[in-house]
Amino acid sequence: MPTELSPDNEREFHRLLVSLQAIANRLDLFVAICDDRNVQAAVIERYEATLQKQRITPYQVRLSQKRPSLRASLEKLVAQNPKLRSQEKAVVTVLGGNELLGVRLSEEKSEQEKFFFSLQWTREALREFRFPIVVWLSDAVATGVSQQAQDFWSWRSGVFEFEGTTPPLPSPAFFPDQHLPQEPSDPDILTTPTIFELIQQISEIQQQNFQSPLLVTLYNDLGNAYRKAYKQEQALKTYLQATDLAKALKDNPGQAKALGNAGVVLYNSGRYEQAITFFQQALEIQREIGTQNDEAKSLQNLGFAHCASGQYERAIALYQQSLKIQREIGDRNGEAASLNGLGSVYKSLGQYERAIDFYQQSLAIDDRNSEANALNNLGNVYRSLGQYERAIDFYQRSLEIDREIGNRNSEANTLNNLGNVYAALEQSDRMLALYQQSLAIFREIGDLDGEAKALGNLGNAYVLLGQEKRAINLLQRSLEIFREIGDRNSEAIALMGLGNLYASLWQYEQAVDRYEQALEIQHDIGTRDDEGLSLFNLGCALEELDRHYEAAESYQQALAIYKELKLDHMVEECEKAIARKN
């Protein structure tokens, strides 16, 4: 469902389109600026479709976050697509420029700075390429390019600015004379006043003392508020500010806290590797100052991040370490969390019995929150095992606790999971009702991530009901939200969902496209098990298209990943598929 464009965007779209249609076989640099990834996706989809009809082949390439160099990305693309060296007309869209971080993490240069630097000597560096490129940048990155990569900027053939559909939050600039908007402009009214108040408070304290030790706490709070509002980059900036100030003031606990918080934001944006370095730094400080419960928490976070990026063995070791500390100091809550974490790793590994064992241990701990969590997780395992009745039972018990202690978020999650069971049981009425309830709660508490997940599941539900059109709309909407809030892991999952949907409609070309998009993200962020699954699904779709060679290759790649991850149940699936091909 392409988003409708505003009249101004429609005009910009036309400017861009006529420029792309007028291209010759030579390098032209078009800069497209947009802060709204949904508008961006809609515009790209539209011009690519139009160009394709005119026999201009669209290609996409994504800047790597680790090495954000335009030239390197283009070189890689050309190596993979030798046609780009021929006289064939093509347009290359360069993505990822708006996801580069402007803040310096551990390196000397931020991702954005590395990118700007790579753009110097444009003519010489890019002259081997004989096709026009459209580089998508956020407003801030575009300004950075115009100031710090002047040579590149001076070669631009056209600049196209697309406005976002939601006005961005005012970014906090911590200067005493900062003009503050009187009205929150964000739809998320629950959290915005808090951000607003915090900015005000910070500004007042700064006026009295720019290095007030109180600011460390306030920055951390503001970061949290941004995080809750899914303003990931602003949250990150603020946490880094807290880190720097805490460091200057030798406030070690404050610094560790800020580092850990920054790690959480990075984790939520699917930047697992970077999150790990932050959790690690926090851990080192906590070890030095001997705050054991925090140390355990950092170990746990490291466990999450390693698990998410498919480093299961390392994750297990980390959880074991956190567990040990928590047991020593009698942190029962923490203990339960580590046990749940261990359970999740074993579930990912397909070792359900062991997973159940850990979840049961966690269940034995007398804490209502952890209990609900464990019950939910148990429900998930039994669902995976196909023991639906048992799963429902666990979910129901979890739900009771959620309602008793008023944990709305967990309640919504549980309802969602319960819906999944009824989906498996093909009881569509119940399933729909549960997803709807879950969606309503997420919306009520303003949890965008949850909302998107519920929408996605609702979409999947409609696939089962044979209402594909509705399903596409919902999955698309869910994808849009994930893009908006920068949850790349879920974005990839939503793309996989769309791929599955198109496959079920026998639209295998579309399916392949979505799987490939998902793959690219998964490869980038390192969610290895999901990458394996996308490859596997891609193989199936390619097989349907009679692209047997590619299909076999895809299965082989999936197999290699699953072998590496030691996911035996999936290894078996891949081997079956490969045998079928031979």
Binding site: H14, D28, E124, A142, W153, S154, S157, E161
Partner: protein
Amino acid sequence: MSSPNRYDRFVQASRNMALFPLLEPAEIEAFRVEYSQKTLVRLKQVVSSASANGKIIFSGHRGCGKSTLLNRFAGLMREQGKFVVFFSIADMVEMSDVNHINILYSIALQLLSQATRQRISISEQTKTTLQNWFLETKSRTYTDQLKQEFSVGIDFYNWLTGKLQKEDTFREEIKLTYERRVSELSANIDRIAAAIQTVTKKEVLVIIDDLDKLDLPLVEAIYRDNINALFSPNIQVVFTIPISVVRDPRLRTNLESACERIVLLSVTKFYTQDQAHLPDGELILPNVETLEAILRKRIDDDLIEPETLRQLVLLSGGVLRELIRLGQECCRECMVELDLAPDNSAITINADILATAVKNIRNQFARSLGSNLYKLLGEIYGQFAPPDARDPDFLELLHGLYVLEYENDDLWYDLHPLITDLLHRKKILPPNGEFA
């Protein structure tokens, strides 16, 4: 004329307005306009009258045609019997790592490579000696490693250039080797040049392009601290340098004392200083017409109104690349109009189209310009000069084309017309003579 045809003609015009410099002979043939003849002649004179080891600095604003001009200049000097080696430093060394040593090393490598390519019969023995010299480094093991790596059959020069471009360790080794022995490096350049001159009876002229695109700190390190070393080879060399460096008083003295001449490719000016800010200032017509001719070569006369053509040229401030960009933007607007209303078959680039195009480009200009610089810009506008020429902000403005340097008997400065326009809009300058 039917509309699709007209659309195609705008497409063609916009294609003709490629921003990248004219280097292909066919393009040059089709689009060249005799431009900056004076500078070309001056450069020729300077080089001809320079001593046999004279160093010439060539500078000018970004996008005013330096590379195009140097390309033509190289051709002319070849015709006049010089052995010309013209290369871009970007093809030789990784940009972040350019220093005086690898510039010199590149010169040597280019000289020998060109001599070989042109089949100049330097004796095999000399050539082998020289080739071996390229591989001699401070560390014996590294030298052995290099010699092992080089195998017969691969192109020696491409192989070595690749190493210089891509391998940090190689550059580091070269730097270590020659840091304290620059004289040896430059003596070898002399030896290669001598070998070439002996055989060809031609004097060697080296032209290095794109040195002006280095980051300013890098440029400073080269020209402030190592200029004597860089200028030590006994041959003629033309170096390109950013205009902001030439204007930096701290570096200027250094440059002036070390080089024979600084040649500037100045921006085409449309007014004399006393006329520049008058509402109906008198134009320097030949200059305006030259730039009009550049556009006319690229777009059919009936697609642009004569009055608009003139306005467009004036709004470029005399900077070629900005002229082309604005022209391209106008074509794009016409294409959009035709795309949305195909019946509008009579559309031409007129005042309205130009106004829209100017708005787009003005916004792009404004993007990179911090509002803290508005005041300084206003002062430059009022005085035709910066309050303090050493002010880094001023040099930055010069570097970014917000302020243009014009040359009469004296130098004077003015704002780029689109910036003047912007400041009028921001009410920093009184709202007279709005352009669009």
